[in-house]
């Protein structure tokens, strides 16, 4: 079934060349022009001269150098230096007839991680391609994007329920630019645009996991052994890795009602970060997961409000298996408002509730650390723009009343000129106990600075 859908997407790609339609404008005003005769209708509108001025390939990007230190001091499990890298991102966009080719690749020198073999799965190595895809409209009401791409949907601010596209938590926690929170995925996205409804369908033929915390760059607390684990003793895991068998489907149907945006979501795949353990060899696993969700977003009381919910249907037998994460219901509500001139604040409340809690508790071995049934999370975000928006100051705090732990991020970013930007900040994890969600990361408290030159 899923293989079939992927083939359909591939067929759509070849179909495009057959009709060669200029279909960018959508169903209402389609203008069919022959792609093989560049002197005809399309040039009548916009002039062939302008088109000629377009460079053959327009390269742009940046060089970004970044350094960070742990403020908590090194422990057995990690190093003083949390981040040290020089990264060049080269981007190019090329239109060939009705097809757009997008490429963005990072070239990375990172003596802290110090692993240069290229790994397309987790982004490690000297080359990390972020975009290699083609975009086209095979039919006027369909857009397709096929290849390596960044995908985002949903309503939350750093809290994700129905966005199950890969995240790079290491980058997020260590002070890379926020764009690195999203990891690239190799997928086919096909979007259908109808008057009554829009539908996105994303097929990922091979599971794209998060770039999750595994101890190698960010240390964590091992609940089973009740000890911190870092680069000397990283997580060993078994990742679903078979093409077309270990695949993922994500879908979204959405529509706007005036200024109100509504969406429903579906996901079928795996927990994106390890959420279980193999009983035999102790390796961390990614149990199967289906998610059904919905969201609403719109203007409320001079600001913006959103609500999102999701039912996380974990792998069969999860309810009684202490080694597999329980099914959950998740709920998020948030509000954002500009509270004074160029100063925006937002608050969010997020709930993660285990659905088979009693079974989970009964199945736990004695002495094991026990989660609460409800994990409550509050976030507060403040963003201030200054100096004609060239200086951005931001703070973001996650606090969990149930775990009594949290995580605060500070960042400043100053554009010295159009080409040069400096930024810096800190990531601080806090909590009373070692094993809670944020508190387990507290050996990774860090400050960082970066400088970026655009070209």
């Amino acid at each position: 079934m899923r293989e079939g859908l992927f083939l359909i997407a591939v067929c759509l790609l070849s179909f495009d060349n057959v009709i060669a339609g200029e279909v960018l404008e959508g169903a209402k005003s389609v203008q069919i022009v022959s792609a093989t005769e560049p002197g005809s209708a399309s040039t009548r509108d916009w002039g062939i001269n302008e088109e000629k001025r377009e460079p053959i390939i327009d390269f742009y990007g940046y060089i970004d150098a970044r350094f960070g230190m742990r403020t908590s001091g090194s422990t057995v499990s990690d190093t003083d230096i949390s981040l040290g890298e020089i990264r060049v991102q080269l981007k190019a966009k090329k239109n060939v007839k009705q097809v757009t080719i997008n490429i963005a690749t990072d070239f990375l020198f990172d003596p802290v991680v110090d692993r240069y073999a290229i790994n397309m799965n987790n982004g490690e190595g000297v080359i990390d391609p972020r975009l290699i895809n083609v975009e086209f409209s095979p039919i006027d009401f369909i857009d397709a994007k096929i290849g390596r791409q960044i995908l985002t949907w949903g309503s939350g601010d750093f809290v994700f329920i129905n966005d199950l596209f890969a995240k790079d938590w290491n980058s997020f926690f260590l002070g890379r630019d926020v764009e690195y929170l999203k990891a690239p995925v190799d997928a086919a996205k096909v979007s259908f645009f109808f008057d009554a409804l829009n539908i996105d369908f994303v097929y990922t033929p091979r599971f794209g996991a998060d770039r999750f915390v595994d101890g190698r760059t960010v240390s964590f607390f091992d609940r089973e052994n009740k000890a911190f684990r870092g680069r000397d003793n990283p997580l060993v895991f078994d990742r679903p890795n078979d093409w077309f068998d270990d695949d993922e489907i994500a879908a979204r149907a959405y529509q706007s009602f005036g200024a109100l945006e509504a969406a429903v979501y579906y996901y079928n795949g795996f927990w994106k970060s390890p959420a279980g353990q193999d009983v035999l060899d102790g390796r961390s696993i990614f149990p199967e997961l289906s998610v059904y969700g919905a969201s609403l977003r719109g203007p409320v009381a001079g600001g913006l409000a959103w609500v999102e919910t999701g039912y996380y249907d974990s792998a069969a037998g999860a309810s009684t298996d202490p080694l597999v994460r329980n099914s959950e219901v998740r709920f998020l509500i948030g509000f954002e408002k500009e509270i004074s001139h160029e100063f925006t604040a937002s608050i969010q409340y997020n709930l993660e509730r285990k659905l088979d809690y009693n079974k989970y508790v009964n199945a736990l071995p004695s002495g094991a650390l026990k989660d609460d049934q409800n994990k409550h999370l509050l976030t507060v975000s403040l963003t201030k723009l200054m100096l004609q928006q060239n200086l951005v100051l931001s703070a973001f705090n996650f606090y969990s009343p149930s775990g009594k732990d949290g995580y605060v991020r500070f960042n400043f970013s100053y554009k010295v000129s159009d080409e040069l930007r400096i930024d810096g900040g800190g990531n601080f994890f806090y909590g009373q106990e070692d094993h809670t969600f944020f508190s387990q990361l507290k050996n990774n408290n860090n400050i960082y600075v970066g400088v970026r030159r655009n070209f």
């Binding site: 764009e179 999203k182 001079g302 060239n390 159009d418």
Partner: protein
């Protein structure tokens, strides 16, 4: 006595009629001015080169293509789509606004590096547009009902109109005076005055061309002594009524910019 009475009556009538005649006239000029600035054609497309010069003389560049569509003929709601092409760190960024009359606009940003369609909560119409000296409502046009407009004088070339905000707390100015061209109705100069009566912000149009029958701003600038510095705008490749579909102003085209209209 009767004669006196009729003279008084006559005076009252004529006085009254000037009042009646002047009121719609000033609103007529103000409406025509905002229409000349922001509503020419059914839709419009323009390339905008922006030079932002800060108080220390440092210059920053913003290059964008703007698409605009009127929801109805003349003053009323509109939709805007702004695609950024320079500098390179904002290349591919899209700003979209649905301008509403009498209530806050709806605004979105598309951040290509994150593939993120971000709804903007900011409601302040008088915050800077992309770091320039222009505010959001300088770009999209201020609601004419937010101010009380008074006809000051008529010169050889201009109607001079003074506008005072109805809600003083919501804006940083105390009043502004506009010099509206009597032929094109473009407000060739607008001076904003603070509560001390000092002029601190001046918009001026340097160069106008007739394009497809519409008087079109080619060069304009905004000077702001409170902020320091100025922003210079240059419009090029302006085209009207090219048939930009209303569906362009949607999430679909935030994620995949409409090449045909942006070339």
């Amino acid at each position: 006595m009767k004669r006196h009475f009729s003279i008084i009556l006559l005076f009252l009538i004529s006085w009254n009629s000037t009042v009646i005649a002047q009121e719609p006239e000033v609103m007529d000029i103000v409406t025509k001015a905002v229409e000349a600035m922001n509503y020419a054609g059914d839709d419009a497309k323009a390339r905008i080169d922006m030079r932002i010069i800060d108080k220390s003389g440092r210059e920053r560049i913003r290059q964008m293509t703007m698409l605009r569509k009127n929801e109805k003929s003349g003053y009323g709601p509109q939709k805007y789509y702004v695609f950024f092409s320079r500098p390179s760190d904002v290349k591919g960024l899209v700003f979209m606004a649905w301008k509403n009359i009498g209530e806050a606009d709806d605004r979105w940003l598309y951040l290509p590096a994150l593939d993120l369609v971000k709804r903007i909560a900011a409601s302040d119409e008088r915050s800077s547009f992309v770091g320039s000296h222009f505010f959001y409502e300088d770009v999209s046009g201020r609601d004419i009902d937010e101010d009380t407009h008074k006809f000051l004088e008529e010169t050889n070339d201009y109607y001079v109109i003074k506008s005072v905000p109805k809600e003083l707390d919501s804006v940083e100015f105390a009043s502004y005076t506009s010099w509206v061209d009597k032929v094109t109705f473009l407000p060739m100069r607008m001076e904003y005055t603070d509560s001390n009566g000092k002029i601190y912000r001046v918009f001026s149009i340097q160069n106008v061309e007739m394009i497809e029958g519409y008087p079109t701003i080619i060069d304009a600038e905004m000077k702001d002594s409170a902020m320091g510095g100025k922003t210079i705008l240059h419009y090029s490749a302006v085209k009207y009524s090219t048939g930009i579909g209303g569906n362009i102003f949607s999430e679909r085209f935030l994620r995949r910019p409409p090449r045909k209209h942006l070339r």
